[in-house]
C-alpha cells in the first residue's frame, strides 16, 4: 500500500472512498470518467510534492475554508498528504525555526515545489505594510516565486487584489500575478474559494503534469466557466420575471430570483451554484441571500451588494447641473436666434418685381 493510501486509511478513508472522490473531482472538472481512475492512481503514485504556503495581506479565510470543513474531508487530507513544508498558520515551528524551515524547503525543492499564496501583496512604501520577520511580502515573493514549479493564487486577494486592493487601496495592494509574471500561475478566486477547486487543480497537476485549462483571468475553466446565474436553481424565476423585492416578502419566501435585491450571480463566474458549499449542502443564494460576486476582480467596488445590476452604480451627480446648463445654452441660442431673425426682419426691404432678376446681371 502506498503512502497516500496509508495516510488516507489511517484517517478512515478507504481505497473505494478515495476513488469515489476522484470520480467526483473528474466530473466537476468535466473530465471523462476514466480520468477519475487516472487521478486516483496518479495521486497514489505521486512522490509527495512539496507545498509552500505563504500568507500575505489576508484574513486566513482561505486556509480556514480548506482546513476547517466539518469532517476530515478528502480535500484537507490530500492537502495534508502533500508535504506542507511551510505554512505559518499551520506549522508548529515559530520564529527562527520557521524561517529556517522555509529556507530549507525552498532550497531542497527548488524548481519542484507548489507555491500557494493567499492574500494580496502591498507595494506601497516598498512593501512595508506587511512584513514577516522583518522582510516584506514583496521581497519574499520575489525571492521564492522564481524557484517554484507552479504558483497558485488562493482566494480573491491573491488572485485579484481583493479587499485590500479595494478603493482607496491605502497599501497599494496588488494581485500575485502583478508580481509573478514568468511562472505558470493559476488563480483560484473566491472569498473564500471553494476547497474542491484547489484539490482539483493540484490533482490535475499531479495527474497530467500540467495545470487545467485556464481562462483569460487564469482561472480553471472547469470551475469558472459559467456564471452563478447560469446554474442557479432560481433561474426559472428570473426568466419568468418573478423577483423578491425585499428579504422578507412573499417572493423571498417563495424562493424567487434575488436579482432586484442586488444578486451579482449574472456577472459572477464560479461554481457555487452546482458544487455548493459545506460538502455539497448549500450556497448563499440557497440561503436566501444574493451572490455578492466575491470571486470577481474588483468585486468590492462593483457598485454595492444590494443594488440591482441594472441600477445605476452611483448617484447621478451631473443630471441637475446638465439640465440647468442645457437650459442656459438653449436660452442663449434662443436669444441669439431671435436677434438674428430680428436683424433680418429689420433689414427687410420690400421686394418688388424688379427684385426677381439679378440687378448686377447686366452691369458686369
Amino acid at each position: 500500500m502506498n503512502e497516500l493510501q496509508e495516510r488516507l486509511a489511517w484517517r478512515g478513508i478507504s481505497r473505494r472512498g478515495f476513488l469515489k472522490y476522484c470520480t467526483m473531482l473528474a466530473s466537476l472538472m468535466a473530465l471523462p470518467p476514466a480520468a477519475g481512475q487516472a487521478m486516483a492512481e496518479a495521486l497514489a503514485r505521486a512522490r509527495r510534492p512539496a507545498v509552500i504556503w505563504l500568507p500575505f495581506q489576508e484574513c486566513t479565510g482561505c486556509l480556514e475554508s480548506i482546513t476547517r470543513s466539518h469532517t476530515p474531508t478528502i480535500e484537507g487530507l490530500i492537502f495534508d498528504a502533500l508535504s506542507l513544508d511551510y505554512s505559518e498558520t499551520l506549522m508548529a515551528a515559530a520564529g527562527h525555526q520557521a524561517e529556517q524551515a522555509l529556507k530549507r524547503a525552498v532550497e531542497d525543492n527548488a524548481g519542484r515545489f507548489i507555491l500557494v499564496i493567499d492574500g494580496s501583496v502591498p507595494t506601497g512604501l516598498n512593501g512595508a505594510y506587511s512584513c514577516i520577520a522583518g522582510r516584506s511580502n514583496l521581497d519574499l515573493l520575489r525571492e521564492v516565486a522564481p524557484k517554484a514549479a507552479v504558483v497558485i493564487a488562493m482566494g480573491s486577494c491573491a488572485a485579484f487584489g481583493g479587499i485590500p486592493a479595494a478603493r482607496p487601496n491605502p497599501t497599494g495592494a496588488v494581485a500575485i500575478s502583478e508580481i509573478v509574471r514568468d511562472k505558470p500561475l493559476v488563480n483560484i478566486p473566491g472569498c473564500p474559494p471553494i476547497p474542491v477547486v484547489m484539490t482539483g487543480v493540484i490533482a490535475h497537476y499531479l495527474t497530467f503534469g500540467s495545470l487545467p485549462e485556464l481562462d483569460r483571468l487564469r482561472r480553471p475553466r472547469a470551475f469558472y466557466g459559467e456564471t452563478i446565474h447560469d446554474r442557479c436553481y432560481r433561474r426559472p424565476f428570473y426568466d419568468r420575471g418573478l423577483f423578491a423585492k425585499s428579504f422578507d416578502d412573499e417572493g423571498a419566501r417563495q424562493g424567487w430570483c434575488l436579482f432586484e435585491l442586488g444578486c451579482k450571480g449574472p456577472v459572477t463566474y464560479n461554481a457555487c451554484a452546482h458544487v455548493k458549499w459545506n460538502d455539497h449542502t448549500s450556497f448563499p443564494i440557497e440561503s436566501g441571500h444574493g451572490c455578492i460576486g466575491c470571486s470577481e476582480p474588483g468585486f468590492w467596488d462593483a457598485g454595492g451588494f444590494y443594488r440591482p445590476l441594472s441600477a445605476p452604480a452611483g448617484p447621478l451627480k451631473l443630471a441637475a447641473g446638465a439640465v440647468a446648463a442645457g437650459a442656459a445654452v438653449g436660452v442663449a441660442v434662443a436669444i441669439a436666434n431671435r436677434a438674428r431673425k430680428g436683424a433680418a426682419r429689420a433689414a427687410h426691404v420690400t421686394a418688388t418685381v424688379a427684385d426677381l432678376e439679378k440687378a448686377d446681371g447686366g452691369e458686369r
Binding site: R340, K341, A347, H348, A351, T352, E357, D360
Partner: protein
C-alpha cells in the same frame, strides 16, 4: 476696396435686385419653429417621394420632396442651430452659393406644384409644402424663379393679370354673357352680398363660367357684383413665393371688397387664387378682413342647402371629379363638390385616391406658367392618366381653371378623348328654372 466700402456695396446690392445675400436674409426671416422642428425630425425615410407625382412618374430620386428643401435646411442649420454655427466657425460647413441655389430651381419650381400631398404622408409630420413655400421666398429673391413665372408675376403686378388681360377684355366678355343670358352682370355695385372674382384663364378660355354664375345668382336671388379694379383672383406672388408681391396683389381685392362693402368675396374656380385670398390673404395683409372669403363651390353648396337652387336632369355617362389641391387638400373644401356632383350626376365615381389624398394635375404652383417644366409636367400627368383610366369616367369634372387647362393639355398629349368641365357650369346647365323664389318674384 475697404471693408466699409465693401459693406456699403453689399448693402446696396442687398437692397436692389435679386441676390444671394437677399435670399439668405429673407430665408432667415421666414425660418420659424415649425421649420426647425421639421428639419430636426426628418429621418430620411423617403416616404415623401412616394407621395410626389414627380418622383412616382419619373423614378428620379432627386425629386424627393425633402431633398428639394436642402438649401433651406442648410440656412436653418448654419444660422439657427448652435452645432451648425460651430461647424460654420470651424469651417466644416460651406455657405450656400448662388450656383447651388440656381441648381435647385428645377427642384423647387419645375418639379413642385405645392400640392402638399407629401405633407400628408410624412410619418414624423413634416409639413413639406409649408417649407417649399418659404424656400421660394429665397429662391425668387436670388433671381432663380423660372422666367415664365417671373413674367406672369410681372404682368399681374404691372397689368393686373398674369395673362396680361385688362378690364376691357373682361367688359367684352360681360357684354357677350349679358347677350347670351339676358341677365345683367353687375359691375362695381356697392353693398352687394357677393363680389365675384375671375381668373384670367376663365376670361380667355372658359367664359362659360361667368354666364353660369350670372344665371345661378339670378336664380338664387342674390345680389352680386364684379369689380372693375379687382377682377383678377389669381396671385402669382404666392406661386413664385414672394410675400411682398403677393400682398400687393391681394390688397387690390381686399381694398375693392371693403370699398364696395360686400359681405362675401367669392373665389372662382381656381385653386391658388382661393388659397391666396382665403388662407394667405389675412396673413399677408397682417389683419383679418372685413368680409368673408368663400370658394364658389362653398357658395353653391350653401345655396343647395338653403334650397335656393335646384337642378333637374343628370349628365349622361360616368363622371368623376378631380379635386384641385389648393381647394381641397390645402383649402379644406372637401365635401361641397361631392354634394354638387350628386345633384348633376347619376353615375359619379371617385378616383382611387381622392379628396384630401387626390393627385395633382401637375400644373399647380406656377408649373403651368413655366415653359421649362413642360416635359416634366407631361410626365407627371401619367399619374392622373392612370387614375382616370382606372375609374373609367367618361367626363372629368373639376373646379379650377388651371387644373382644367392642364388636364386638357395632358389628355390631348396622351390622346385621351375625355371632356373636362367646370362644376359650376354643370350646375348652371342643370339649374331648374322653376325655382320657388323666382316664381314668387314673378308672381
Amino acid at each position: 476696396m475697404s471693408s466699409t466700402a465693401l459693406q456699403a456695396h453689399n448693402s446696396t446690392r442687398a437692397t436692389r435686385g435679386a441676390s444671394l445675400e437677399r435670399a439668405v436674409e429673407v430665408l432667415k426671416e421666414v425660418i420659424d419653429a415649425p421649420i426647425a422642428s421639421y428639419f430636426s425630425s426628418c429621418v430620411h425615410c423617403g416616404l415623401c417621394a412616394e407621395a410626389c407625382l414627380f418622383y412616382t412618374e419619373t423614378g428620379e430620386p432627386k425629386y424627393t420632396p425633402i431633398h428639394k428643401l436642402e438649401p433651406l435646411r442648410r440656412v436653418w442649420e448654419r444660422e439657427y442651430t448652435l452645432l451648425g454655427r460651430v461647424k460654420k466657425w470651424l469651417g466644416l460647413s460651406k455657405p450656400l452659393t448662388d450656383e447651388e441655389l440656381g441648381a435647385w430651381r428645377e427642384l423647387v419650381y419645375d418639379s413642385c406644384t405645392m400640392c402638399g400631398r407629401c405633407s400628408l404622408v410624412c410619418p414624423v409630420g413634416n409639413d413639406l409644402v409649408y417649407m417649399i413655400r418659404k424656400l421660394r421666398e429665397g429662391m425668387a429673391l436670388a433671381g432663380h424663379a423660372p422666367p415664365g413665372v417671373v413674367a406672369a408675376t410681372r404682368r399681374t403686378v404691372e397689368i393686373g393679370s398674369p395673362m396680361g388681360i385688362r378690364w376691357p377684355a373682361v367688359a367684352a366678355q360681360i357684354k357677350h354673357v349679358e347677350a347670351e343670358t339676358g341677365l345683367k352682370v353687375p359691375i362695381d355695385q356697392a353693398g352687394a352680398e357677393y363680389m365675384l372674382l375671375l381668373s384670367s384663364m376663365e376670361i380667355i378660355n372658359f367664359p362659360e363660367y361667368l354666364s353660369a354664375i350670372a344665371r345661378i345668382m339670378h336664380v338664387a336671388g342674390k345680389t352680386w357684383t364684379l369689380c372693375s379694379e379687382a377682377f383678377e383672383a389669381t396671385n402669382s406672388g404666392i406661386q413664385i413665393g414672394v410675400s411682398d408681391i403677393a400682398r400687393v396683389i391681394v390688397a387690390r381685392v381686399v381694398n375693392a371688397a371693403e370699398r364696395l362693402q360686400v359681405k362675401t368675396v367669392v373665389s372662382p374656380e381656381c385653386g391658388h387664387a382661393y388659397f391666396a385670398l382665403r388662407w394667405d390673404g389675412p396673413n399677408l395683409m397682417g389683419r383679418p378682413f372685413g368680409f368673408e372669403v368663400k370658394h364658389v363651390l362653398e357658395v353653391l353648396d350653401e345655396f343647395r342647402v338653403q334650397g335656393l337652387i335646384r337642378t333637374e336632369g343628370f349628365e349622361e355617362g360616368r363622371l368623376t371629379f378631380h379635386d384641385p389641391c389648393q381647394i381641397v387638400r390645402r383649402g379644406g373644401v372637401i365635401e361641397p363638390q361631392r354634394h354638387l356632383m350628386q345633384m348633376i350626376a347619376r353615375d359619379f365615381v371617385e378616383m382611387d385616391e381622392t379628396g384630401k389624398y387626390n393627385w395633382c394635375c401637375g400644373g399647380g404652383g406656377g408649373v403651368s406658367a413655366n415653359e421649362e417644366a413642360e416635359g416634366l409636367r407631361l410626365a407627371a400627368f401619367k399619374r392622373k392618366k392612370a387614375q382616370l383610366e382606372a375609374c373609367g369616367a367618361q367626363t372629368l369634372v373639376t373646379a379650377c381653371a388651371n387644373c382644367r387647362i392642364v388636364l386638357e393639355e395632358g389628355l390631348e398629349h396622351y390622346q385621351m378623348a375625355l371632356p373636362v368641365v367646370g362644376l359650376t357650369e354643370l350646375v348652371a346647365k342643370h339649374l331648374a328654372q322653376d325655382d320657388g323664389r323666382r316664381q314668387d318674384e314673378e308672381g
